[in-house]
Symmetry: C2
Subunit: 346 residues, 2 copies
């Protein structure tokens, strides 16, 4: 009798718990079934991403990868943010020239600074690699690493792009942010692997991409250890390039930083070609994706596809397109694969 | 009455749960109170480590550091494993010369190879930096990164040190392994930052130190992206040094890889001096430790302390000792601070 009552007296508690459990379970299932990539339209591109995650994270998969060996690498310009009409870091460099001009009266009569200060767009478009190097040396070197990062941060806080009149750090492709988050939720380490400057990107990579500075690989000067007036160790930025993180530099630097092939790589130009090849040469499952800018209305249109004007920047050549097709890389059509491009653009 | 019975009838269940809870709680408390550094004797060195963890991980601490910004860097030779009587990687290089000799008949009459092949210790001790460079180029370059790692792995699997007749990967300081584990358990990323070869260390860093290859910073050749016979992307090791990860190279490369000052750094020689200075120059709390080899019985004795012979290798100079004292770095006495040196040595 006591036992019977005992069962009875637990009834309410058990019922309450069952109800709670049911609520939690359904919330969990909804969570599990909810789409991790809502800014993507259904199709082969979206499916390829989901397939890679399944192939590398399901312990029963023959291509399962232990959690601390999962790596995905993302180019930046044209892959995770807008690169038109000019690379953002180039805009920063030109703005710095104008800002520094009062301290350099000789620039008024010296190229390439003269054209930049005058805002002569036609002349600026014709600057040679050597001219641009002079601009970079003048604006990106000669200070401590902290001073450089502060300059970049200050600029990014106020500069706005000419088309949408928004900070450059808002010109991020929402679908790519989703991929990064989805991969990280599945144990991947997500790296930015940019031809741009490592230290420039590090100033915003964590708030913008959720990528901490130790996961940013980029072109980099050979910093120089020195001492400040207090005798404290500081790092200066001399005008000496250590890493040119473009083309072959990408796989070389990926190996330097992470010591293995990534399982997934995302790019959009010939500067990413070797990174995608190197990713494909790795063991097990892999995913190589390139972004085709074919949406003039919501972003820009340029590249090798029918009816698109040829690339002027971020060269997605016909040869790269052909290699992608031949090697089963996935071409992402911004127009067709992306439901939404920017978080603020419905 | 029903209610009363209801309380009664739950009594046994509640009692059982309370007992279980008490057991779990005491296990938890024992765990929490158990010493994370049992191979360390109580003293200022051990306390300094515990203090850093408290200062950087307690959210109420004014020097609290967010979890993804916690970094600790460890020199290897003489700091986490034995460096006497010769750096392990040097032994590997000399063994490789002997192994490769049949393919290089000219080495029999050419220095520095002649002395190495003859096993002439006196001559080998006098090899110049240029001689050693020739040995490294002959043994460490000209192959793919995978082929090099395989060679290093094969050698480490069979080579034994001359004193204890154990694999070199067993000559690891147990107290340092404990520090690494303790720091990682507290959210720190632990890096090996070695003057030795990055790729050499990467072959064993994960099983030996729990440090994955992406957290090994070392001297490194500028790998070269190329294609194998199947047209796949591979990385070759040309005879070109990219990173000389010694002295000033350590803070420079730490910044390149992680983009900030570490909170803790461990070294044992002048090659680590700048890394310790750079760590101290960072914001908030920090810990700089240097290992003094003063235990001839259990390991080796050399360095600036009273009665110790001067360093022949891993130069812990009097000047470094003085800087450590002046700047409040913690000198670890192997003899007095370490209860146990190797895991197999009771």
């Amino acid at each position: 009798m006591k036992k019977r009552l005992g069962m009875n007296c637990n009834y309410n508690a058990v019922a309450t718990r069952l109800a709670l459990f049911a609520i939690l379970l359904s919330a969990f299932l909804m969570q599990a079934q909810s789409d991790p990539l809502p800014a993507w339209n259904d199709g082969p591109a979206k499916q390829a991403i989901v397939n890679l995650v399944r192939a590398t994270t399901d312990p029963s998969s023959p291509t399962f990868v232990p959690i601390d060996r999962r790596f995905a690498t993302f180019d930046q310009d044209g892959t995770t943010w807008v690169e038109h009409p000019m690379y953002t870091q180039m805009v920063f460099a030109f703005d710095r020239v104008v800002q520094l001009a009062p301290q350099h009266p000789e620039w008024k009569t010296t190229e390439p600074f003269k054209s930049v200060i005058a805002g002569d767009k036609a002349a600026m478009a014709k600057l040679t690699a050597k001219d641009l190097e002079a601009v970079f040396v003048a604006t990106h070197t000669g200070m401590s690493v902290e001073a450089f990062q502060q300059m970049a941060q200050d600029w990014l806080a106020t500069a706005k792009d000419p088309r949408w009149h928004r900070p450059y750090t808002e010109l991020i492709y929402e679908p790519m942010l989703e991929v990064m988050k989805y991969l990280r939720a599945n144990g991947y380490k997500t790296y930015i692997v940019t031809g741009g400057g490592q230290d420039f990107v590090r100033t915003y990579s964590e708030p913008v991409y959720g990528v901490a500075p130790d996961k940013v690989i980029g072109s980099a000067v050979a910093t120089q250890y020195s001492y400040n007036a207090d005798g404290q160790g500081i790092l200066m930025r001399p005008p000496k390039l250590l890493l040119d993180n473009n083309f072959s530099g990408k796989p070389e630097d990926i190996y330097l930083f992470i010591g293995q092939h990534p399982q997934a790589a995302f790019g959009n130009s010939t500067g990413d070609q070797q990174m995608l090849e190197y990713t494909q040469a790795g063991p097990g499952a892999h995913l190589m994706m390139i972004v085709l800018h074919d949406d003039a209305q919501r972003e820009y249109a340029y590249g090798p596809a029918d009816g698109l004007p040829p690339s002027e920047i971020g060269t997605f050549t016909q040869a790269l397109y052909d290699e992608a097709k031949a090697k089963d890389w996935t071409v992402i059509s911004m127009k067709h694969d992306w439901k939404q491009i920017f978080s603020w653009q419905k």
